[in-house]
Amino acid sequence: MDYRKIGEDIVKKAIKGGADEAEAVIEHIKEFNVSVRKGDVETLKKSVSKGLGLRVFINKQLGFSYTSDLSPESLEETVKKTVELARITEAKPWQGLPDFGPQPLAELALHDPELATVSDEKKIGIAREVERIALAQDKRITNSEGGFFSDAERIAGLFNSKGISYTLQETRCSFGAYVIAGEGDNMQGGGWSSSKRYFKELEPVEQVAKTAAQRAVEMLGARPVETKKVPVVFDRYAAPAFWMGVLSALNGDAAFRKTTFMSDMLKKQVASPLVTIHDDPTRPRFVASGPFDGEGNVTRKNTILEKGVLKMFFYDSQTARKAGVKVNTIARRGGYKSGPSAGFICVIVENGEEDPASLLKDLKEGLLVTSMRGTGTDVTTGAFSVGCSGFWILDGAKAFPVDGVTLGGTTLDLLKNIDKLANDLDLRGSLNSPSFRVTEITVGGKKT
């Protein structure tokens, strides 16, 4: 199908049908998923799906609809319905398409032409192999949730009545395993995966398998500790969950409405001077990169925190217009079924200078967090509370695995009390962080 034609046509039809402004997004996704358990294929799923979302404005009133049916009759109906929907809503002066028009897009090399040539057998083989190696790593590995391989090729288009007509072709592939160590009431699961744009850049199967196995085995015998305040180290793979909570509090519209504890913090020191955070979706070939955002703005590198000072909130063009701020907008979009909203795309908490081992070395007693069950941050109040697991640290070394404990505090205190930031950044997804240490957090556990 000629998606550019469909996209440009429906925008024209919406204008003809009464809209002042219109925008269409189209997605076409071809997917392959296989899971293997104990050596046998358990599920094999292949699919092609598509859909279109249409956003229109009439007198600054908004209507939105989507459809998975791209037949001419259905698209005709979609235009009619969306215009009707816009007439139901009330005008808000800031509503409308972004002010910018078409801009030159960077070539980020997000499409792997070779992926299409990889056979199903080869992909199934990888899923089988990663599970096999993970199961064979250690005698204490007793069971498996399986190995998997999945990939997707996506064509995405964004078209609007201000002349934007972008299409993007991208690929993604990933594989991993999840295995279980121990038996009865002492079981622990552990998984790991690798996700890349290019098939050839996937991490070695053996490395992913070993990490999955290690993450299960090392948690055997995990137990709660008694309630106390101690220094807490967040390892680099647990840290992104923490930052997710912090970033959620930086929504510009929430700040404007004063519904987030960060509302009055712009240009203030909100975190330790060690912390600098960027949003940077412009890295070529990277899994979380993209040339344009959810409303068609070209992506670029933005500074969120610089040496602990809050430099920006997240706005899309409508909320920026409303708040009267002139900033680089960043709009996320979850797919064709929703409109754009403000947010980050690819966040990197920049490396510190410490060797990761030095975060533990001088601790007499403390907690190393390797997994968080949630983000912890209450965006409204700024209270921090989360369940976690990891290791108890005694005299600078891992003493035993810990599970069933909570961390409690306030997010701003945690941010300010970061006293060490490691240099172990490993870019894997849309939120990346080195390991870091907080001087003191309340660890909630059992009575002894």
Binding site: N33, E77, G191, T380, G382, G408
Partner: protein
Amino acid sequence: MDKVVRYHTINRRSFLKKGALSGALMISFPVWKCLAARDPEALLASDPAALSILDKEDLRKLLEVCLSRGGEFAEIYFERTVSNSISLDEEKISAATRGLDMGVGFRVLQGEKTGYAFSDDLDLAKLKEAAETAALIASGQTTEKPKNFTPLSPPQYYQVKVSPDTIASKAKADLLIKANAVARVFDKRITQVGVSFSDISKKIMIANSEGLYVEDTQTLSRLGVNCAALEGSNRSMGYESKAGTYGFEHFDLSLAEDFGRKAAEMAIRMLPAEDAPAGEFPVVIAAGFGGIFFHEAIGHSLEADGIRKKTSCFHDKLGQPIASEVVTLADDGTYKGAWGAVNVDDEGSTGQNTILIDKGICSAFLQDRLNAKLMKMKQTGNGRRQSYQHYPIPRMTNTYLHPGESLPEDIVKSVDTGLYIAKIGGGNVQPTTGRFVFSVTEGYLIEAGKVTRPLKGIMLMGSGQEVLKNITMVGNDLLVIGGGSCGKDGQSKPVGFGNPTLKVAKITVGGKKA
């Protein structure tokens, strides 16, 4: 593989969200209306009669294609879902949206293997292509032939007189305007009010090689009100919602008025909230939201996939005591009008009321077709899928604790120092270890048998094995609620839950004060 991969580990199972925390509405669950490609008019009609348009002979041929490689069982799942939502924000009707999801899924089973493919193109050639892809899970000659269809007329558990899809937006907007007006004038510290009404009309048709043919129309409606309050540097949120397999007749202006007031009341009550304590405490959970506690603490761990694969910590506990004697827990797809009610599940098995824990004894698992067959147990109507793009897996419907004998006020009085949990925001569990957490959105301190000061930042953490044995009192005031969405293996599904007031003798509370 699933969305949680963002955190770099493969996180298994469940994230349950409710009310204000979910931000936007629950609008993403698909539904249907079957139609054939040759009749585009039918695409737009809301008339359930259109369901039968799909030619049974075509279905039979497609099932034959599915079985052509030697599969043991084949199934076709049609879906047409219309989703509507309208929302009010900053005193204005700010958005109106409508969505259509439509497609056909093909599933082929052989032993423990599942082949799955779907098409959102209803052209017969495209459907045949998808059926061929699903068939590839098996490799051999045809061994099974599809049986003749016997239409199934399931019992009705939904409470729908007036389809919300047929209601003019004006009537829905009036609800939002009313709730907003009441919340705004309730207190001048209320700074933001958001109200939304969303509905889903999902028509499904399931036909399988064993001769099952069933159609169902699932209707879900939800009205939600969120309020934010501000006083000095204190911020708080309040929310109230009603959600179920309801028609529009369940929503009127007096309900909107009531919800506007209740959401505002909650926000104002929580304004002066203090830091929560940390450590082990007795906890009283109010009627309604405690169902999330059971959903996480035990429900996921009793789903048959984890049981069969022995990856759940409860896999060998059937017939054994796993909870105190006051605990009788049901998963009930037949609870009328409940958010998770199902006339049939997403593989055509009729909704059932299954007792999972009978006076403390583990008495059943949550079964779908595949696992029930492999485990030689009965299906329990828990084979559910998000949409035609997904294959069914064992899922909860409405999970609730049966009422006991205690009076709610006596339960509170029995606690000297502890916590009173009024509303829960969401939680998650790892079924392998049984460890779960859930976050509390409205909680209070109990001092000398009385509910006193509001608290913020409460997280409760425990293990299913331990905490169920620590339930010591159960009230007589069962309340079943809806509006939540449960995530498992990348699939989101509406689930209901409920409980009477109950007491957990001790559980770990994650707060700030050591």
